[in-house]
Amino acid sequence: MPLITRLFLKAGLVYLSCSLITGIILELEFISIPIFHVLFWHMLMLGWITQIIMGVSLWMFPGRSRIESFSNQKWSWIAFVLLNLGILLRIIAEPFIQLSTHMIWKILLTISAVFQLIGIGAYLIEIWPRVKGKKQRSKKRKKESI
């Protein structure tokens, strides 16, 4: 299993745990913070499920280079770093948006949105050309051999 896949899967497992801890906090009404509801769902759907899908598809889909290097996997690395930075920034900044009027939290939340968007974009650049039927792949191979 390539390193980038292992990182996606382990980050996904950490987010799954964090989302479940948040879920427990949400059930404890005396310490419940409404914004945790949004964080719970995003850690589960983006941090956990989406990262697991991304990690496994980068590993299992055809067309992966066997040589692990940054240049071969640059889009996957950009996706991993930016997506996780984006989610982390959101977890840090979002609770403070309602509690504080300071501009820094708004800026951090905006940066988080941009990071997540670019991260997903990088994943799409990596995976799109690898989603191919047998015929398309054999045509590509023939072209490359010529």
Binding site: T50, E94, W128
Partner: protein, 136 residues
Amino acid sequence: MPIVSVWMIRMSLLYLASGISVGALLLISKSLHIVSFAWNLLPIHIEFLIFGWIIQFTLGTAYWILPRYLKTKGRGKSFPAILMVVFLNMGILFVVVSELKWDYSFLGLIGRFFQLMAVALFIKLHWTRVVSYARS
């Protein structure tokens, strides 16, 4: 990868791109209050990412990767598989239109029905493909 899986996975990637773009717009709107209409798009963000991305990607990958039929070595008839893709995506689009236009709420019901039909077709196609080779 069979062509049905190629369509489903590519569609799911398009939904991921659209859903995450709407999500980014919502987050920026939350922090900077610059896009007032953005919150009307919240149901679309949810529909695109849950049904369009996660469910469609999972079904498309399962169609490709689950064991083929043991006797015929295929994935079954292609017409129900194509119909499954059409129903699922029509369902998503119908639900999205119903969320955008409140007058068209009946489309939401039709959309969910299409999604149910897609899942029923998926079950029909895959029920006997969920096997253990050791028992055959």
